[in-house]
């Protein structure tokens, strides 16, 4: 099934998304990867505000290549999400609703997804040129000194994604291969 979703999102609309479904995501997506997650959590420790409104937000784990003249962004595919597992539950509990990346998440993240009615979506790993085609605008909004790891505010249009972990905790990385093996069992 294919869903058209616009950020910011609500728990209610995310309920319709099931592991394995396709999503075309539009609206504002914030980029953050390793160092930005670390610094966001340090902000929270100090009682400071995050660089963007976390409620209903979508965070894309990406460190794009520099944009050439006349382009808004370079290549922009997902990085491995598991490195953000240490930070994600805290952000989900504060209202982050959509995480975009690739690769497995741990049980603490899955629990936080279920607890908060959030979702984990996958972009196509290694398809950075294709993913960049959906980015219409990009602006660094925090920690420019982090370079590719800086927090960017992206305006995206129909970013093609797949639901990996839905709000009930169903995980496509488990169900997808299992279904394939079942169908092809001799």
């Amino acid at each position: 099934m294919e869903h058209i979703i616009k950020t910011p999102v609500t728990t209610e609309e995310l309920k319709a998304l099931k592991a394995g479904d396709s999503v075309l995501l539009s609206g504002i997506v914030y980029t953050a990867r390793d160092q930005a997650h670390k610094q966001m959590c340090e902000c929270l420790d100090r009682g400071e505000a995050l660089p963007f409104d976390i409620e209903g937000s979508a965070i894309y784990y990406v460190g794009p290549t520099p944009e050439k003249e006349g382009m808004v962004i370079g290549s922009a595919g997902p990085t491995t999400s598991g490195r953000m597992d240490a930070y994600s539950p805290r952000l989900l509990d504060l209202g982050n609703k959509v995480m975009i990346g690739k690769g497995k998440r741990n049980d603490a993240v899955k629990d936080a997804i279920i607890r908060n009615g959030a979702v984990y979506l996958a972009a196509i790993g290694g398809a950075g040129a294709l993913m960049a085609s959906s980015v219409k605008n990009a602006e660094v909004i925090a920690w420019p000194e982090l370079g590719c790891e800086a927090v960017r505010r992206l305006e995206v249009e129909n970013l093609p994604l797949t639901v990996v972990i839905d709000s009930t905790g169903q995980d496509l990385y488990e169900t997808g291969p299992a279904e394939y093996l079942k169908k092809t069992a001799r």
Partner: protein, 279 residues
């Protein structure tokens, strides 16, 4: 005696860094196309089609295939009749600096493993030099992404573990990596040598064109067996399920200690990039 200048090396390394990141080698493209044709699982076939589409977009827009433009792994074969006019390693690093800055490639090197920071120009290159005979200098740039590098593994097996021990370790590595290394992957496997040499062998194996078997029929057969068993795991492209988990397995082997059986698995992704020049 042939004289090759540092400037020549610098200019060529720059060109190779950019070329490798924008265009996949023909053998990798062929392997992806063949995998798509052989794939019978619709979701998996669609993903493989999108990977081909991505290559087209990268070529049209002249932007990197993947945003992780990698650590610059550079392999040098230096003939002993070549005189380098200048500093070889500095020239390579200068070429990486130029290529990554002028080619709009991502600067992905943390200046210190614990204190982090960024070197801002993707240096240093990770250089392996071999002295050979003759008057040629061959340079290969292999930009290596870290999503797959992080899923690589090394184990010191016991001789009694034998070939089954090697197969089990490789399958365990691929299974536990799952979706993380952006499957379909390409595997470089080192067997034998010492702790350090086996890791080197596994990376060297990634230089071999996909589909070209090990010259030793025993190891060629093991490569085919591993590829078959990996593609029966069901992980599939992106880990969503399917036949195509791995595009190619290449083994490099060497003698080892009577007490040892080192094995290293260097995992690479569907964007296995390399570009070479011979001066």
């Amino acid at each position: 005696m042939k004289i090759i200048t540092a400037d020549q090396i610098r200019a060529n390394v720059k060109k190779l860094c950019i070329e490798a990141n924008l265009k996949l080698p023909e053998d990798v493209v062929r392997a992806l196309t063949a995998a798509k044709e052989a794939e019978d699982w619709p979701v998996a076939k669609d993903i493989l089609g999108l990977l081909e589409e991505n290559l087209k977009v990268a070529a049209e827009k002249e932007i990197p295939i993947c945003q992780d433009t990698g650590a610059a792994c550079v392999f040098v074969e230096l003939g002993n009749d070549v005189h380098i006019d200048g500093d070889l390693e500095q020239a390579i690093n200068d070429g990486v600096h130029d290529g990554y800055i002028e080619g709009y490639l991502r600067k992905s090197i943390a200046a210190d493993p614990l204190r982090r920071g960024n070197t801002e120009d993707n240096t240093p290159a990770f250089i392996t030099t071999h002295i050979t005979t003759g008057d040629k200098l061959k340079i290969t740039v292999l930009p290596k992404g870290c999503g797959s590098e992080n899923m690589s593994a090394l184990r010191m097996l016991k001789p009694a573990d034998g070939v089954q021990g090697v197969v089990d370790f490789v399958l365990e590595t691929v299974s536990s990596a799952g979706s993380n290394p952006c499957p379909p992957t390409v595997l470089g496997i080192g067997i034998g040598g010492t702790f350090d040499k086996v890791a080197y062998l596994s990376k060297k194996a990634l230089l071999r064109p996909l589909g070209e078997p090990n010259p030793d029929p025993y190891y060629a057969e093991l490569e085919a067996r591993l590829l078959k068993e990996i593609n029966e795991l069901g992980i599939g492209p992106q880990g969503f399920g399917g036949r195509t988990t791995c595009l190619s397995v290449a083994i490099e082997q060497m003698p080892t200690h009577v007490a040892g059986l080192p094995v290293a698995v260097n995992v690479s992704c569907h964007v296995t990039r390399r570009a070479s020049v011979e001066l």
